[in-house]
Amino acid sequence: MPLEFEQPILELEARIRELRDYAEAGGVDLSDEIGLLEQKLERLQRETFANLTRWQRVQLARAPGRPTTLDVVERVFDDFIELHGDRAFADDPAIVAGLARFRGRSVVVVGHQKGKTTKENIHRNFGMPHPEGYRKAMRMMDMADRFGFPLISLIDTPGAYPGVSAEERGQAWVIAQSIQRMGRLRVPALAIILGEGGSGGALAIGVGNRVLIMENAWYSVISPESCAAILWRDAAQAEQAAEALRLTAHDLKELGVVDRVVPEPGGGAHRNPEGAMDALAEALAKELAELEPLSPEELLADRYRRFREMGAVEIV
């Protein structure tokens, strides 16, 4: 189902397609008309996307068809092999992890995983990890340190799962531990917010030396819906909450929370996932090249400095 603000674009596209089919079938030359419509389409798309509200970005970040972690490991990396399990309780399908090559070098990859169908989403718990998922992530961080491989984390979660079983098995504890473990990595750590960056469940694998974000992704301490439910006492005020939270890629760049915004192709990553992922690959390669010359001690100090400076306070 297309998003509301995409409708005019999609309709125009459909009209162009029809026209082209008609021209082809009838052997008529409609290239001028089609050309004009295509210009109009391009303008419409540019204008729509130049003026997206924050809430519309949130919808884009959730749009079906956006690249997921498994899409990225398929296209951006070579030789991916998924590794399973937390060695303690279970394998959590809401987090995918493994080894791969990125432009020749071995890397460790870990990321949230949403499903593409309802069935898969139920299996993946809509990308909301249990403690086991974060424990698997920590095992991958150990692996990265053990072999000196960079860690690349892909963030796309509404949040850590807020359920009884997750609480029983220490959801808060494991998120804290994962933040700490990632902060202690002696190898380059790159985090990318692919789609949704929901709170502590996102940050748990977000303690990178560099934090990148896709242009239409969001990252916040709370989802707009939950924020609205608490502060406005009305979840329907999500649009307003999204504005207030300043949760878009450009907001976060301004706030210093992310280091780089990865541009998405016109129409958003869900309309052209390959294009989005290729842009991501370029950005990753650049950032990684900057980090690789650093010693483990420099990487630790760099990461400390990065997060130590976060926040806005006044000293009197």
Binding site: A160, Y161, P162, G163, V164, A166, E167, E168, R169, G170, Q171, A172, W173, I175, A176, Q177, I179, Q180, G183, R184, S199, G200, L203, G206, V207, Y219, S220, V221, I222, S226, C227, I230, L231, W232, A241, A244, L245, R246, L247, D251, L252, L255, V257, R303, Y304, F307, R308, M310, G311, A312, V313, E314, I315, V316
Partner: protein, 288 residues
């Protein structure tokens, strides 16, 4: 402080009477308790042992060795980086809490000794915006950890928080990483860090520095968790199990070292710090 607010609320409901309220009703057993008795019992219900929420200054008084406390917090003040407004501008909310508590934000603490051990003691103020963690709380905790490391002190943090401060959005979230990473300054110096979880400790505070202490103590009956009970109930659409997310439940599930009654808290804390801190001295037995 939580109690002051409770009083205010009750007075308002009662129609603005002028008579000072000398009696309090225990929210757990509903007994009417004489206020002075409650204070003499460290704000623990003499009938059922319910631990009332404690103000931060009272908390420091109860834990620090007498006369040893010197505040270090207060110089760090909140700003409004997002120009956040919900039903009320963030700046106005802040001003109100600042006036009510006399503090710039939801944390209070300083240097002291506990059982003779040099300590940096911080207490989160639930009365200030539900003890929520924004940039100031994060900064004070990071500074606290760094100062403790520099001066060879143990770090003790009394947590009481509804979680991250929404009005600072992603910047609040980043405080989870900042506080967590600052703890490593203590690791490098082999200085101990003890966390005391009180009612309530949830969200981003539990999921960062509060869960990472060498020794984690909790007051009885405190609500402790990641997600709040309401959110969980909405998610699972079932009633929550009895005692769920309370201290005793967490102890059983392996998340806490000990549940300690308030009257034992200072002694237990001193005991742990003396064992862990290099200046903890010889055996307690040997002292006697």
């Amino acid at each position: 402080m939580a109690l002051d607010r409770l009083f205010r609320r009750r007075r308002t409901r009662g129609g603005g009477r002028d008579v000072p309220e000398l009696w309090l009703k225990c929210p757990s057993c509903e007994a009417q308790i004489y206020k002075k008795d409650l204070e003499a019992d460290l704000m623990v219900c003499p009938e059922c042992g319910h631990h009332f929420r404690l103000g931060v200054e009272e908390r420091v008084r109860q834990l620090a060795d007498e006369g040893s406390f010197e505040p270090t917090t207060g110089a760090v003040r909140p700003t409004d980086p997002l120009r956040f407004t919900d039903t009320e501008p963030y700046t106005e909310r802040l001003a109100r809490y600042q006036q009510e508590t006399g503090r710039p934000d939801a944390i209070y603490g300083g240097t002291c000794t506990v059982g003779g051990v040099p300590t940096l003691l911080l207490a989160m103020d639930y009365a200030f915006a539900g003890g929520s963690m924004g940039s100031v709380v994060g900064e004070e905790i990071a500074r606290g950890a760094e100062l403790a490391a520099e001066e060879g002190r143990a770090l003790v943090i009394v947590a009481a928080s509804g979680g991250a401060r929404m009005q600072e959005a992603a910047l609040s979230l980043m405080q989870m990483a900042k506080t967590t990473m600052a703890l490593d300054r203590l690791w490098e110096k082999r200085l101990p860090y003890v966390s005391i979880l009180t009612d309530p400790t949830t969200g981003g505070v539990t999921a960062s520095f509060a869960a990472l202490a060498d020794v984690i103590l909790a007051e009885p009956g405190a609500l402790i968790g990641f997600a709040g009970p309401r959110v969980i109930k909405q998610t699972i659409r079932q009633d929550l199990p009895e005692g769920f997310q309370r201290s005793e439940f967490l102890l059983r599930h392996g998340m806490l070292d000990r549940v300690v009654e308030r009257r034992e808290l200072r002694a237990t804390l001193a005991h742990v710090l003396r064992l862990l801190h290099p200046e903890g001295g010889a055996s307690d037995a040997a002292r006697v």
